[in-house]
């Protein structure tokens, strides 16, 4: 069912050499390609038939779920609504990702809406990679949305990466944090050519002693454009930080707007933002260690997006 092309895409977006062990759901061209459940992790199609519901039993420790999506059919715009219900006290890794192979001139796209309900004291690591390739001129669009609800003392770490080849991306991340919960969002986006990427983030620190850290790293090459917006709203005693850095290369453009909103007197919110070319002192240091200018640029970008 999966051909060589599919396997290449899976390798890039989900680090999968073959069919994964444990629970997984592979979606290909808008349809279910393959699925497996485990004793603690159930996956079923939702009632509206618009996506899947992944249910992780309370106390599930050290298990993972792979839910990659691959597209290789010209003209297809795949929309999917997935829900993750993570039981209290569990500790799991969820690996999502979308790979597009565009062979024709018709546009291809995927809009994935992922909703997470993370139970008390549960820990989730969510890894999402987006990538597009192929010789076709069709526009490749990826518009992901994540909505995260953290119950008391839950902890979520999100790694959101757009590696390359995506022409248009409009991302929305929303998180609402309960008491004692924490979220770390690490977003890395690299654009080139005439690509556009926009990321909007709405984080609400609703519960007492909740903590959030949003880190965004953008590399903007060619004539591409990236916009980054993040708003952190504090409704209780909490700590929140936004760090957004953009490196501009060639003629890239960028708009970065971090916003902090305190609706509680004990809120501690901070942000740091920077836009600029690669710092000259970094380049000179690496060149003085024997790298050429181009090697130094690559090494700095590689570290920045790590």
């Amino acid at each position: 069912m999966l051909d060589a092309l599919d396997k290449d895409l899976l390798k890039v977006v989900a680090d999968l050499e073959d069919i994964p062990k444990g629970a997984y759901n592979i979606r290909k061209n808008g349809k279910l390609a393959s699925r497996a459940t485990s004793a603690n992790i159930n996956i079923e199609t939702n009632a509206e038939n618009t996506g899947i519901i992944v249910t992780i039993a309370p106390g599930t420790i050290n298990e993972s779920v792979h839910i990659p999506v691959i597209l290789s059919e010209a003209g297809l715009n795949d929309v999917v609504y997935n829900t993750f219900i993570v039981g209290s006290g569990s500790d799991v890794t969820i690996i999502a990702g979308c790979g597009i192979h565009c062979g024709g001139s018709a546009p291809e796209g995927h809009e994935g809406i992922h909703e997470f309900r993370v139970g008390k004291g549960a820990r989730v690591k969510y890894v999402e990679k987006h990538y597009a390739t192929g010789p076709g001129a069709g526009k490749r669009t990826l518009n992901p949305t994540t909505k995260v609800f953290l119950e008391e003392n839950a902890h979520v770490e999100m790694e959101l990466t757009q590696i390359g080849g995506v022409d248009d991306a409009d991302r929305l991340n929303e998180a609402t944090l309960g008491a004692g919960s924490s979220i770390l969002i690490m977003e890395r986006v690299m654009t080139d050519g005439n690509q556009k990427a926009s990321s909007k983030n709405e984080i609400i620190l609703a519960g007492e002693n909740s903590r959030s850290n949003m880190v965004s790293r953008s590399v903007i090459k060619g004539n591409s454009r990236q916009n980054f917006y993040a708003t952190m709203t504090a409704r209780a005693k909490c700590v929140g930080h936004i760090e957004c850095d953009a490196i501009i290369m060639d003629n890239g453009t960028n708009e970065t707007i971090p916003a902090l909103r305190a609706e509680h007197p004990d809120a501690e919110l901070s942000h740091e933002a920077s836009i600029g070319k690669i710092a000259g002192d970094q380049l000179m240091k690496l060149m003085s260690l024997g790298l050429t200018y181009d090697e130094a640029v690559n090494r700095i970008i590689q570290g920045f997006l790590r």
């Binding site: 790293r217 000179m284 090494r299 997006l305």
Partner: protein, 253 residues
């Protein structure tokens, strides 16, 4: 091994009257550095010491004159080409990165990524504890920590010529002695030609030759003993007509 031939570095600046006033930061310097010797370059702030060091590494381009290294004219070479020729440079204010660790810099510096070899290298350099290996070389490092890392990445190059620009800035008093011994050891064992830009007496004492720079020129070349009166002259009060006994703070600068 390193020859400076009538070196100039000029900048244009505004001085209130003229928009394009030319100023020579390096004003005709000539000198031959000999293989395996230890040189200390000192002089008042703004005299041109760092600029000279940067010209040798190729970070700034000379306005006039030539630099020869082991018989080759390197005046037109890039930083990379000079590094490959065997020149290494410790920056006065080392770069801070995002997502690059001490281990990464050592690997780039040596081409080695083997764990055992990196550990033995860190041990050889001595001033950085092993726990530094996976430290990010970013804004979280203290001034002293980053200078130690900077020095280690320079020594790791096994350079023929090592230039250290104020290596002791931010370094605790207990580390300066070992740092001087380390540079001396590299000089003795590997015949590294060593140039240290410093105000610190410990480095001046370690040097075979002391060079004093003022207003972009070498004003003294020789041993430390004879340099001391000149250095004392730089450090004393520049206000010549201080009346004796007057408690003028400026006199004690």
């Amino acid at each position: 091994m390193l020859e400076l031939k009538d070196l100039y570095f000029s900048v244009t600046e505004k001085d209130g009257l003229n928009d394009n006033q030319k100023r020579d930061i390096i004003d005709g310097m000539s000198f031959v550095f000999e293989t395996g010797k230890f040189y200390a370059i000192t002089g008042p702030n703004g005299s041109g010491k760092t600029t000279l060091a940067r010209l040798i590494m190729g970070i700034n381009q000379v306005s006039g004159g030539e630099i020869h290294f082991n018989g080759q004219d390197i005046t037109g070479l890039t930083i990379t080409e000079r590094a490959k020729a065997g020149i290494a440079y410790s920056f006065q204010q080392p770069a801070r990165f995002k997502g690059i660790t001490f281990r990464d810099l050592l690997s780039i510096s040596t081409g080695i990524d083997d764990e055992a070899k990196l550990i033995s290298l860190v041990r050889r350099v001595g001033i950085c504890p092993l726990s530094f290996l996976d430290k990010a070389v970013d804004a979280t490092l203290s001034g002293g920590e980053i200078k130690k890392i900077e020095l280690a990445t320079t020594i790791a190059r096994n350079p023929k010529l090592a230039i250290y620009d104020e290596p002791d800035t931010g370094i605790d008093l207990w580390t300066i002695g070992p740092m001087v011994s380390l540079l001396k050891k590299e000089q003795m064992e590997n015949h590294t030609t060593t140039i240290v830009v410093s105000h610190n007496k410990a480095f001046l004492e370690a040097a075979d030759t002391v060079l004093i720079v003022n207003h972009g020129k070498f004003v003294y070349v020789g041993n430390l003993k004879d340099a001391l009166p000149i250095l004392a002259d730089f450090s004393i009060c520049n206000y010549k007509n201080c009346p004796e006994g007057e408690q003028d703070a400026r006199c004690f600068r």
